[in-house]
Amino acid sequence: MDHSGARPIWAFLTGPYALFLLVLLLVPFANIALYSLHPYSPTKVFLPELTFDNYRKIFDLYYVRLFGRTLRLGLITTAASVVLGYPLAYWLARARPRWQAAGLFLLIMPLMVSAVIRVFGWIVILGRKGLVNQALVTLGLEPVKLLYSETAVVIGLVNIFVPFMVLPVMAAIERISPSLEEAAQNLGASWYQMFRGVILPLSLPGLISGCLLVYSLSISAFVTPALMGNPRERMVGQQIYDEVLVSFNWPGAASLSLTLVLITAALIFGALFATRHAGRQAKGL
């Protein structure tokens, strides 16, 4: 049904939510932008003048290290997710329906459980008296400090975000006809050669989607680094939380947030561009 007539019913249908988002998404972010341009005041939170100081301070050593660490951990997390996620995605894509349903359930279910709970589980596993150390002690070895380190944070982040890598890659692999795999093998390719020559190039758009998702989720993570990381080596999310709710440095928090938004937006555009290019290559156009 094509309704381009006088009564814009579509406006009535989409209006409410559009309005809602306007008020609760766009306005708050505009608000943040505004805050980021006021100087910070420990007593009054912010002063009415306008300044770029909040953005300038991002180039201080502390913040440079902060962002550097965050972006680096995000990269490591993404790389680890690719390594763990690709084989899983392939298995799921080619699995028989019953196995695929079970596999998807086991993949998505933890995703939906609050991140706090999964982190709690890891704390029990990696803690000083946790599983791993208990096992080491019974083997006669010394307990190892695993928590409150970058390694622990990466483990936690990978654990939580791997499904976001698996799902788009799985969807991409499913679109590759199994007969292409068979043709490659028939022409003499071992499974690994087939994977590199056929699956990888043709599932590239899915891989890019997955990387984008995992990376942007990792760099904005809060709960995992807050509970599992070294309190002296924070990630950006923790810094924002601290500046909003603890030190009430709202201007500072605002500038950090917007910087993060810009980075995320740049990633999205980069990924979109890369996906379209990869997609065109895959079709040979």
């Binding site: 049904m1 409410p16 763990l84 939906m112 991140a115 709690f120 029990v124 795999e181 939380y241 909003v244």
Partner: protein, 262 residues
Amino acid sequence: MSARSPRLLGPFVIATYLGLLAPLVVVIAVSLGPSAVFEFPPRGLTLHWFEAFFASPAFVTAFFRVSLLVGLLAATLATVLGTSAALGLVRFRFFGREALETFFLAPLLVPEILLGAALYLFYARLAVQASIWTLLCGHLVICTPYVIRSVTAGLVGLDPRLEEAAMSLGATRVQAFFKVTLPLLRSSLVSGAIFAFIISFSDINLALFLSGPQSTSLPVHIFSQIQWQGDPTIAAASSMQIVVIGLLILVVQRIFRLRLVV
């Protein structure tokens, strides 16, 4: 199965799944064990921590009065908002439709922690106190896109001529919608609603910013308990959430294609 997979794939996949599920298994095991120190494997089976959970006013309020309530409200409202939005997007052609669709799904791309901070600052500027309602509004922003995705997927698979057929038999547009389209969308609606509930129920990033003294959600309470070195009551609370969400996901999987919503 067509092409032969390498022999290592199976074990690798199993190992990955074990790694993914390990924390959840551990949490459930700890919640059933008698020790006050987190111990695994637990020495015995007891429901002691679950009793402690129900005996703790903070936990009970967080679970039932806040998380459950907000979740149900969010699910209902998100379904109404989202279904209406999806209908407008799928069934009509208008200038800027694709841009609007991207806008509607934008909350999925915004880092949650930033949204939480933005909403907190927004409420602060308007001098609005933190309450269930501020939390609910925040949740609606992130839950509705899931409903929109689910209902859009369902609508796209629905033949619009069915409504036209109903109208040719005498139904008005509204009647046709309620008698023909809506029943056929049932599985999309239900799974969208369930997803909205789950997203709201398990949200931590928004709730950290939007929780108030009377409106502390379960995940936030668990978070503070972990920070303050609580006892395995945390595990009991977590287990309950795992079970609730696990069952809901199973339901969705039965009636709808899971991956279309995530």
